[in-house]
Symmetry: C2
Subunit: 414 residues, 2 copies
């Protein structure tokens, strides 16, 4: 997720920057009936689309995820309906019924079939949806569709996010220019993540379904999957990419140079969104890249990176700007990866802390300055092979614990 590579022209217009996409957002009083905030959004393509989706691997899947997966089969999606404040997860048969009701109401308002609508929900788990309030707002959402509501929809999907996450870029492609745009919401601690991650991407590129799916899978793997540790994904995690071909480019051909350009741009966009999500993690003060190299296998490199990223005590040390390489060694040791303790080198932002498994002698104050930065890299060289893996994570703060200790009591209790 280094951003040193390609950069792109950023353009205004948010999620509606690509041609042929409209959106709108309203409040249905889901987050807080007494103090209405934007909590419902609709994205609509005026033209037919191909759509790729990536969904949570959690075996407890929210009802809207199941409905999305079913609707994606015929792949004639034209709209995304989304709410925040209630995840519609652990809600049983009623949850499925409610998710379908959202799709049906949206289809009715737009003159579509229900299977042309993707449904997304994010928020508290285990509460029934206030479905009457939700469906009542859908006609207004459809009537208000426009290109200028892009700021509102980025806000409408927020839960514990402190700021909206949105980006649109343009990319020259042959004689035309294509546009790609994204909105996302994160929240929760990123790793181990229990906060839902949603990302909706629109593009006016002309591309075939199988190529869009291929590019989406590859980009998700190297971006969002690197901030969500080891299957620890929320019940609702969803990435949806809709491509409507309105840029008028010659259709992107599999294996050609244009596919590479599109693929890189898509990955760039997801990378930027993934980074925004980690930076805005609940009460996060540090953005930390963990780069493992010299591992015997790819899986070993991944185990080490994820174990270090997940260690409570390592995360606490970062919160305190403490260059505690002993805790990093410890986590490497229980990662189940093949290691040789006496070969391990550890660097904090390029400064060696550990050489051959013991202190490298770098003065503590020098290392402290490195981990005091709001962004830094921890490089772990196992020195026994050539495999690498990188993940992106954050510190753990007292404020995180405080924020997360009474969700039900505060939000369900009267």
């Amino acid at each position: 997720m280094s951003l040193k590579s390609k950069s792109y022209n950023e353009i205004p217009g948010g999620i509606t920057a690509p041609e042929g996409f409209l959106c709108h957002a309203v409040s249905a009083g889901i987050k807080d009936p007494k103090n209405p905030r934007l909590d419902m959004g609709l994205i609509y393509s005026t033209a037919p689309c191909v759509t790729a989706g990536a969904f949570t691997t959690n075996k407890v899947k929210a009802a809207p995820v199941k409905v999305c997966q079913a609707h994606l089969k015929s792949n004639d999606i034209r709209a995304i309906i989304v709410n925040s404040g209630n995840a519609n997860a652990c809600t049983g048969p009623r949850g499925i019924q409610d998710a379908k009701a959202m799709a049906t109401a949206t289809a009715d308002a737009l003159g579509l079939k229900p299977t042309q609508v993707m449904v997304n929900s994010t928020g508290i788990i285990g509460l029934p949806m206030p479905i009457a309030r939700i469906t009542a707002q859908i006609p207004a959402l459809a009537q208000g569709l426009a290109r200028d509501r892009f700021d509102a929809i980025a806000q409408a999907i927020m839960t514990s996010d402190t700021r909206p996450k949105s980006l649109a870029i343009e990319v020259p492609l042959g004689s035309k220019t294509i546009r790609l745009a994204a909105i996302a919401k994160g929240a929760g601690m990123i790793c181990p993540s229990m906060g839902t991650m949603l990302c909706f991407i629109t593009t006016d590129a002309a591309i075939g379904l199988s190529d869009l799916k291929k590019c989406t899978s590859a980009a998700v793997e190297s971006t969002f999957n690197r901030i969500s540790i080891d299957g620890d994904t929320s019940t609702n995690d969803t990435v949806i990419v809709m491509a409507n071909g309105q840029a008028g480019n010659r259709k992107i051909v599999s294996g050609g140079p244009q596919e590479l350009i599109f693929s890189e741009a898509l990955e760039y966009l997801m990378r930027r969104m993934a980074r925004m999500i980690v930076r805005d993690g609940e009460r996060v003060t540090k953005f930390v890249e963990i780069a493992v190299r010299g591992a015997a296998t790819h899986m070993d490199a991944r185990k080490v990176a994820e174990t270090v990223a997940n260690s409570l005590l390592v995360k606490c040390s970062w919160n305190g700007s403490d260059p505690n390489w002993g805790r990093v060694m410890h986590a490497i040791g229980y990662s189940r990866a093949k290691i040789r303790e006496e070969h391990i080198d550890i660097y904090f932002d390029g400064l060696i802390a550990t050489r051959n498994g013991i202190s490298a002698g770098t003065p503590l104050e020098v290392l402290q300055a490195a981990v005091a930065k709001p962004e830094f890299t921890v490089t772990i060289d196992l020195n026994i092979g050539s495999a690498t893996y990188t993940v992106y994570t954050s510190d753990l703060s007292q404020e995180y614990v405080d924020f997360n200790k009474a969700e039900y009591a505060v939000r369900i209790a009267p």
Copy 2:
């Protein structure tokens, strides 16, 4: 780890309650040279022993663990030398040399061979041992050996523990009475644990080496291994059981009723120590038993129990006395165990919170009262098989984060 089963007569005398064991503790200024506290201890058996040991599975093993494992081969152990304040971990060849120096100095002072001495260290990782200060104290440790220093040695092994952990029991066996005694130190968060767990057990029972090993392995598996999640053990974790036969009982025979009596008593003792360790975990306010039942396989039951016990957000909710069954469902979903969401029931201290994967409708205030207790059980019934697994864990507090955020900065920096 239910304590409803057998109970035993507790007796005074701590680790020296069994016949033929002596101990002593002194300060070597390892924890804090300016403000000396007890930080070295010695346990000695006046008679030959059989000794069983269980050690960390972390691939980064502290030097004393490696030395203990080597010394245990000839199994003629007579003494345990231990220090707190420095773990002698990630210290390379010098660490091994220092651990051997501790064994040699102890052997010299007691007229033993170095291989008759077990060496243990606990404390900060990655710093060289102040070995001259340590070995200088060993003659005084040997000279002071007595039966009445048992309180001091329980204190000498403490790191971030807030109270010493010690227990001695007596058990009728045939026409005699045997005694078993333990001291332990925990600290760190228990799961995922990065604080070293040490437990030293003495008994005057007469038992053969292979039987002692068998009883020790079984007891460790059902006690200490249930509080240390999934390989996430410290670099120094060690359990040592020394049996010197001074009770004069007829030697315990494999498979006989006396072996069962001994085995149950040993497990009881370890269970009590394990419980003390969790209760005294860093800034812990809740002791939580997670009992999984109805799993398809033992491994599935274990995955669910450990994943729930390890979830940051679940731990935060307990800290806030929040009966957040949605987070428990979520963690079950990413545990990689075979589950059927619609079959899952969850109980907080016997009160049903979730039935068939959705809210059971029990009033929130009723569930809140259950998780507000300092000790409670979370029962998860997967309802798809008959396998069970239980682990013991704690909440996660803001104070834990605060306590752990600047170890190096506070303890290494001048």
